[in-house]
Every structure is written in C-alpha cells, then in structure tokens.
C-alpha cells in the first residue's frame, strides 16, 4: 500500500481520533523534532518529522552524532589494536564483531584455525547473538508499555555477561579472542557458568514469551506496524533478522559458512509481513536456534583434543608471558608482534559474519605495512536505517518509535 493510500485509510477508519489540521480543506503541517536525545529512541538519532496531526507525512533523519572515524583510526593501528575498535560498533554483541575482525585478518594471512577453537568461537558468537536479540526484543516490549519482561530477561543477559567476564575479563566491550585463536582456554568456572546458563535460560525465555508473544495488546500494537515488503527490503540491502522478517531466508551463516557453521543443524526463521511483530518473532526464534547451536558446539568440543585454544602461528599469536621472560624465541616473537614487525601479506579480502543485525563485513586492503591501507566496515545498521523514513511514512508517531526499536538500530554501528 502506498503511503498516500495508507494515510487516507487511517483518516477514514479512525474517525474518532484527533487527526489534526490536515483533515480540513486546507493542508497544514507541523514540524516535530524527534531526538537527538529522545529517550524512546535508545540512542542519539534525530528525525525531523513533518506531521499531519499524529500522522507522519515525511521525515528527515540526521545521523552521525557519535561518529568516531573508525575507518580512519584503523589506518594507523596495527591489526591487533583494531579489535577494541570493533567492540564499539554493535556494542550489544561485541564478540561477534571481534570474531569477524579476527577471521578477516586470518583470511588475509591464510591461517587455519583448529576445529576446537572454531567451536569455542561459535559458542561465544551465539551467546552474543542471544544477548543482542534479548535486548532488542525486551526493548520492543518496553516501548509498547510492558516493562516487566524487560526486567525479567535482563537477569539472563547479565548471566551472559558473567560468562564473557570469565572468558576475557570484560563485560560490554569485550575485546575477546586474538588473531589466530582465543587469548586463553575456557576456564572450568566458565564451563560451569555456561552449563548453568543453558539450564536456566530456556525457562526464563519461555516466561518472557508467555508475557508477550500471544499477548493480545502486544499483537494489536505491533502487527502491521512499520512493515516493509521483501522487494523493498532487498533493494535497500537489508540483512539479518530485519530481512528475514520480510520473508527472505538470507543468513550469512548458511550461505557463506565461516567457523564451521555448515556442521551445525539449525533453521533460519522467516516472517511474511516484515512488520514489527515479525521482526520480534524472528529474533525470538533465532534465540532458540542459538541455544540449539551452543548445545551442539559443546558436544563437538568434547570430541576434540582438550587444551587447544589457538592456531600454531607464533608470528601472530602472542606467546605466554612466562615464556617471554624465560625463552629467547618467545621474546623475539613478542617484540615483533608488539612492534608491528611481523610480515603481513599484501592483498584485499572481504569477510562477512552474521552479526546481531545482519551481514557485518570487513573489507580490508593490506599493502604489507603494519597497519591496514584501508579498512571498510559494512555495517548493517547504517545500510538498513535509511529505509526508516520510508517505513514510518503514513504511520502514527507512536508506531515510528516502535519501528525504530524493532529494527534494532544501534548508534555505535550506525555512526561507526
């Protein structure tokens, strides 16, 4: 339905609503500034809306409020120092960004990663996906007025952060893993936390679902809110849950498998309408699939030789500290890595992973120097947020808020 028809439909159907000045013969619009720091936008976005009463006629988004020039910064940093930058893209699922970056560099250098490390990375990435989707879905609940689910499920996200903390020492900006593997093996406590999480999480998620999924109020509020057709979504280069909600089964994990994802058994949930409810449901189903993948990965790790947590690449992987102090060779490697004296091959690679929001790609050009010659990040948020103006056109203001939270627009990734 075109925006104009939609507006006509709302005007004829909702006679009881106050629809503003535009209902008479004379067209009169008001301008509304939504943002930059409106609390309901969950970040710093500005939208200048042209309103006809409560109906959005047009909008002009402004972005870049937290732009930090990551692509420029990366041109002066050695490869291992770029990992902390990637944390700050989609900060709801930093580990996926970290892993994507490690895999890009490994592709450039042709490093083969042991299977056990790949499965460990899969566990970390799927935990990140769960925490990302949990945040997004519970915030959709908050924006419809249901605070309870958000508070319940956030305890579970806290448990995921506890696992991160055990793996790498950090919670939000994780800097997890290294080029060539992980910085350390999973500790017994980490396994313990993970096992406990896998026991406690499904009932908690089920409880959350019971609160919202078939809740009449929630359904009435979200169905047909901010829809986009599959054709438009593809033309706008959507990816991730937002594209799948529109009915296209594109998932990087399946189409271009990395990290041995081809060995795992999981389904790609797809929606039909591409509206807020579908986006919610797709994310919800993906959380269940992620839990399935983690179980499979744990079973696979048990069959692999224990204690392996990085590839045998001394030129890129920092040796343990005690060896640096006691072993000449380790000291030399340590020095070469830290000072950026390692030989880096020339080349151009593109590597994409399925991030929390879709295809997160790194396009890396190396000229053999200690830093990338050019690093371009394909940030899914940046690409699909431009459809926002089209999606909210002809809808109500309150639907625009809901559409934004269901698209999971993360300011860090949007502005890079």
């Amino acid at each position: 339905m075109s925006a104009k028809n939609k507006i006509e439909k709302i005007k004829t159907e909702n006679n009881s609503l106050s629809l503003g000045e535009g209902r008479g013969e004379v067209e009169e619009y008001s301008t509304l500034n939504l943002g930059p720091t409106h609390p309901a936008t969950h970040g710093i976005f500005q939208n200048v809306l042209k309103m006809d009463g409560e109906i959005i006629m047009d909008s002009e988004p402004t972005i870049g409020y937290i732009h930090r020039a990551f692509e420029k910064l990366a041109e002066r940093r050695p490869y291992y120092q770029i990992t902390p930058i990637t944390d700050r893209l989609n900060y709801c699922s930093s580990p996926i960004n970290n892993m994507g970056w490690h895999m890009t560099v490994e592709k450039l250098m042709g490093i083969e990663i042991p299977k056990r490390v790949q499965y460990m990375r899969v566990i970390i990435m799927e935990l990140a996906r769960i925490s990302d989707h949990v945040v997004c879905n519970s915030v959709i609940g908050v924006d419809t007025g249901a605070m309870t689910g958000f508070l319940y499920i956030f305890q579970m996200r806290e448990r995921i952060y506890d696992i991160y903390e055990e793996l790498c020492g950090a919670r939000l900006t994780t800097n997890i893993g290294r080029i060539g593997g992980l910085e350390r093996d999973f500790s017994p406590k980490a396994w313990d936390l993970l096992d406990k999480f896998l026991v406690d999480f499904p009932p908690a998620l089920k409880e959350f679902e019971n609160l919202l999924m078939r809740n009449r109020i929630f359904m009435d509020r979200t169905i047909n809110c901010g829809p986009i057709s599959a054709e438009r979504a593809l033309n706008y280069s959507f990816s991730g849950p937002n594209l799948r909600a529109a009915g296209v089964d594109y998932d990087v994990r399946v189409m271009n498998p990395y990290c041995s994802y081809e060995e795992f058994d999981f389904i790609i949930p797809v929606g039909t309408q591409g509206d807020t409810y579908d986006r919610f449901m797709v994310r919800q189903q993906e959380i269940w699939e992620s839990v399935k993948i983690i179980h499979q990965a744990i079973a696979k790790i048990k069959k692999e030789p224990a204690g392996v947590f990085h590839a045998d690449v001394p030129e890129f992987f920092l040796p343990p500290k005690e060896e640096v102090y006691n072993n000449m060779e380790a000291l030399i490697y340590h020095f070469k890595i830290v000072m950026g004296e390692t030989e880096i091959p020339k080349g151009e690679v593109y590597h994409a992973v399925e991030g929390g929001n879709g295809e997160l790609g790194y396009f890396l050009i190396s000229d053999g120097g200690r830093t990338p010659y050019r690093l371009h990040m394909r940030r899914p948020c940046f690409i699909y947020y431009q459809a926002y103006a089209e999606m909210i056109k002809g809808g109500m203001l309150s639907d625009a808020i809901l559409t934004m939270s269901s698209m999971n627009v993360i300011a860090g990734e949007l502005d890079a």
Binding site: R76, E348, Y350, I383, A416
Partner: protein, 169 residues
C-alpha cells in the same frame, strides 16, 4: 557455479554488452573482480541487475580507496554485488583521476546506494552524479575537507613528540 566459471561468465557478458567499457578481470582471493570504465558503472549495475541468468540484485557494500601515488587513477570505488538466489558474489571496481571525481550514481538501481554514496562523498569527496540528496552524512555540514583522503594524517601534524618512523605508518 564456482567462482572461476562465474568470472568467465560475467566477463563474456560484460564484453559482449559494453565492448571497450570492460577493462580487466581477475580472481581476488575468493571474489571475481572486474574493472570497468567509470562512466558506464550505472549501466553495468543495471545490466547485471536485469540479466536473467546473473541477476545481481543486492548491493552488499561500496567503498572508495585513495591511492595518491597512482598518477591519473588516484581514486578507486569498489562495489560488491550479490545474487542471493544462487549465492554468487562479485566485486566491480572503477578507477579515476582526482582531477575529475564525478561518478554516475547507482541510486536509480539500488535504493541502498543512497546513504552509501553519501558516506563516500562525505569522506572522500566523490561526486555522485544523479544522486537525489548528496550531502554529508556522518560529519558535520560545516566541514570543509574530506577526511579519509590520505593527505590528512590522523595525528596532529604539529606534534613533535611522536616519531612516525617507529610508531606510525
């Protein structure tokens, strides 16, 4: 279709359609890469979009690269196209001089090119002809230069306490 077959298939189609406009092709790690003339890039994208066999209908990403030493071809823009149905991926590149930075816009073919091109304009100053709203997107409007160009060093040039020989590029 494996990548090598894809490379020859796309190359023969582009050669048949555009003749001189096609410049070269090669395999770049796992991506078939094609270089075409700058002025026909929108036609190439449109042709690949509508071609029934190839139908590259998804613009994955776009990036500008600045090679200041490359006389006469200081800028390159790369486009990555994806055929989701058959899972085919290619990369197209154009090269042009810094004295003429006009590039045809891809917005008539892909809506997604809108912000991607605004980003390249913002950071490299590439002028996309036919773009509906070509203005800065991430940097502030008052900015007078295009910061991702190589002539703008990241560090403050007046500082003397940092030695580039040891710690910089």
């Amino acid at each position: 279709m494996d990548t090598q077959a894809l490379l020859t298939a796309v190359e023969s189609k582009l050669k048949a359609q555009f003749g001189d406009g096609f410049i070269s092709s090669k395999m770049n790690v796992d991506y078939p890469e094609f270089v075409v003339k700058r002025d026909i890039i929108c036609d190439v994208a449109d042709f690949l979009y509508k071609d029934e066999e190839l139908s590259f209908q998804y613009l994955t990403t776009m990036a500008t690269i600045h090679y200041p030493e490359n006389q006469g071809q200081e800028f390159a823009v790369m486009y990555q196209l994806h055929n989701l149905a058959k899972n085919l991926r290619i990369r197209i590149k154009i090269y042009f001089s810094s004295s003429d930075v006009n590039v045809p816009s891809l917005t008539p073919v892909f809506s997604a090119a809108n912000w991607m091109e605004r980003q390249e304009f913002d950071f490299f100053g590439i002028i996309f002809r036919g773009h509906p709203n070509l203005k800065r997107i991430l940097n502030m409007d008052e900015m007078t230069y295009h910061p991702m160009r190589k002539e703008y060093a990241l560090e403050d040039g007046t500082r003397e306490d940092k030695d580039d020989k040891m710690f910089g590029r």
